[in-house]
């Protein structure tokens, strides 16, 4: 449980972190909250030679609502999101995801940018980030780049980030109208990770029918995904006891589900359908 030797450098600014990353390249790992990287290092499954700590860069932790554009700094902790009045008002899905994430120690130190960059296949944030169609803003040697959440998660522990890039911000348009949201998960009893996690946001039109829907799923497949079949099944319909189960049943359509000690692929798919239905029901009831 003692990591291999490494050098520790606390970057004071994003520019400094970028140049350190450019200098040390593959030898370096960025340290955000450290709740995935440090356990891996203690097991010596990860042995970076240099840790570049982003924790001292203060202007990377913020939550802003700029005229309906929500901007969350990469180093914002789960706890800051959980307790953010801005997000509770503008996008309660995010505080609800945060409150279900890990334990208090993880939420106090862990960050949304770190979680998204690590891309654990059972992490909670990817589901919410996909559901609200967020954009991930990355900075690299050639400046800023915006990556859509749908294109960001490439595979297990693998993202669209290029070597040398750092996530700066996660941003999205605050959902408008009669909005209802929900995050539901089956929590792994030991790790707190999502065996299945479903994030839902729905918006109703004037007649109470579903105008738009976003459904993000984590824990089920090697990478988090959007469930477009569920979304289109909901669109234009009243979110009632017929529509919701029918839509939820489509959440694992064409999905190659994970199988592990805790849940076989079939059981996971079943859980995903049940929890999607429950998340949709909750979201629909909140939208009224």
């Amino acid at each position: 449980m003692i990591p291999a030797n490494f050098d520790y450098i606390a970057a004071k600014s994003l520019d400094e972190a970028l140049s350190l990353l450019a200098k040390h390249k593959d030898d370096a790992k960025l340290l955000a909250g450290g709740h995935s990287l440090l356990p891996a290092m203690k097991l010596r499954l990860a042995q970076p030679k240099v840790l570049i700590d982003l924790g001292k860069i203060k202007d990377l932790a913020y939550i802003k609502d700029e005229g309906g554009q929500i901007r969350i700094g990469a180093m914002t902790t789960h706890f800051q999101i959980e307790t953010s009045d801005v997000l509770r008002r503008a996008c309660p899905l995010f505080p609800e995801t945060a409150v279900n994430l890990g334990d208090m120690q993880v939420r106090n130190k862990g960050t949304i940018g770190g979680s998204v960059a690590h891309a654990d296949p059972a992490a909670d944030w990817p589901a919410a980030v996909i559901a609200v169609s967020a954009e991930i803003v990355a900075v690299g040697p050639n400046g800023e780049r915006v990556i859509k959440a749908d294109n960001f998660f490439v595979d297990m522990l693998t993202t669209a980030l290029q070597p040398g890039e750092i996530i700066k911000e996660i941003r999205f348009a605050a959902p408008k109208g009669r909005v209802g949201q929900s995050y539901m998960k089956v929590r792994h009893p030991a790790s707190g990770f999502a065996v299945v996690g479903v994030a839902v946001t729905v918006a109703l039109d004037g007649t109470g029918k579903c105008q738009s829907a976003g459904v993000g799923v984590t824990g089920v497949a090697p990478k988090p995904y959007r469930a477009p079949a569920v979304e289109s099944e909901l669109k234009g319909k009243a979110l009632d006891g017929t529509t919701l189960p029918a839509a939820a049943a489509l959440v694992t359509y064409d999905v190659n589900a994970n199988s592990d000690l805790f849940a076989t692929a079939d059981y996971r798919k079943h859980l995903a359908q049940v929890y999607t239905r429950r998340a949709l029901e909750t979201a629909a009831s909140r939208a009224k």
Partner: protein
């Protein structure tokens, strides 16, 4: 990735132990846009295999179809260095062979056997494969929930690299 990648990973959930490890079975079909003879030649060429096996840093011939290798295998930040033996068996050109990889390292051990069957598919080649993988040690106990996904990713990387190699293979041989 490849033209028609469809990798199915069938894991056999069982409690991993340090000694016996965790058993996985992967199977799938991979279509490669190159003629069968060329794909087979590439698949049995040490230099090509070294480029295709994910994380294979060096490969040294120790006997007929036997190699010692050094692998840095992993996904994302999780990496381990393995010393491995790679052998090719049951070679029936140009339709079949067996690839056996046994690796040991600080994070545990990996043993993998893959049976590959190559069929002609017009101008292309269709590779049907079945692999049995046994992973043990720290890797299996800590990484249990990700092993299956990692195995699928490795197979995917192997075949997409192979496709690139097979396309250009006639030029290097």
């Amino acid at each position: 990735m490849g033209l028609a990648t469809r990798i199915r990973v069938i894991s056999v959930p069982s409690m991993p132990s340090v000694v016996e490890g965790l058993n996985l079975k992967i199977e799938g079909t991979q279509k490669i846009a190159a003629p069968r003879e060329r794909v087979f030649a590439a698949l049995t060429n040490a230099a090509v295999l070294q480029k295709c096996i994910p994380g294979c840093e060096q490969m040294e011939k120790t006997g007929e179809n036997q190699y010692d290798a050094k692998l840095t295998a992993g996904v994302g930040p999780i990496k381990g260095v393995f010393t491995a033996t790679i052998s090719l068996a049951d070679i029936t050109a140009p339709s079949h062979y067996k690839l056996v990889v046994e690796g040991k390292g600080q994070p545990g051990f990996v043993k993998g056997t893959g049976e590959l069957n190559l069929a002609e598919d017009g101008e292309n080649t269709s590779i049907q494969y079945v692999g049995e993988i046994n992973v043990g040690g720290l890797l299996a106990s800590v990484g249990q929930r990700m092993i299956q996904g990692a195995a699928g990713m490795m197979a995917g990387r192997f075949f997409s690299a192979l496709e690139q190699e097979a396309k250009t293979y006639s030029k290097v041989s």
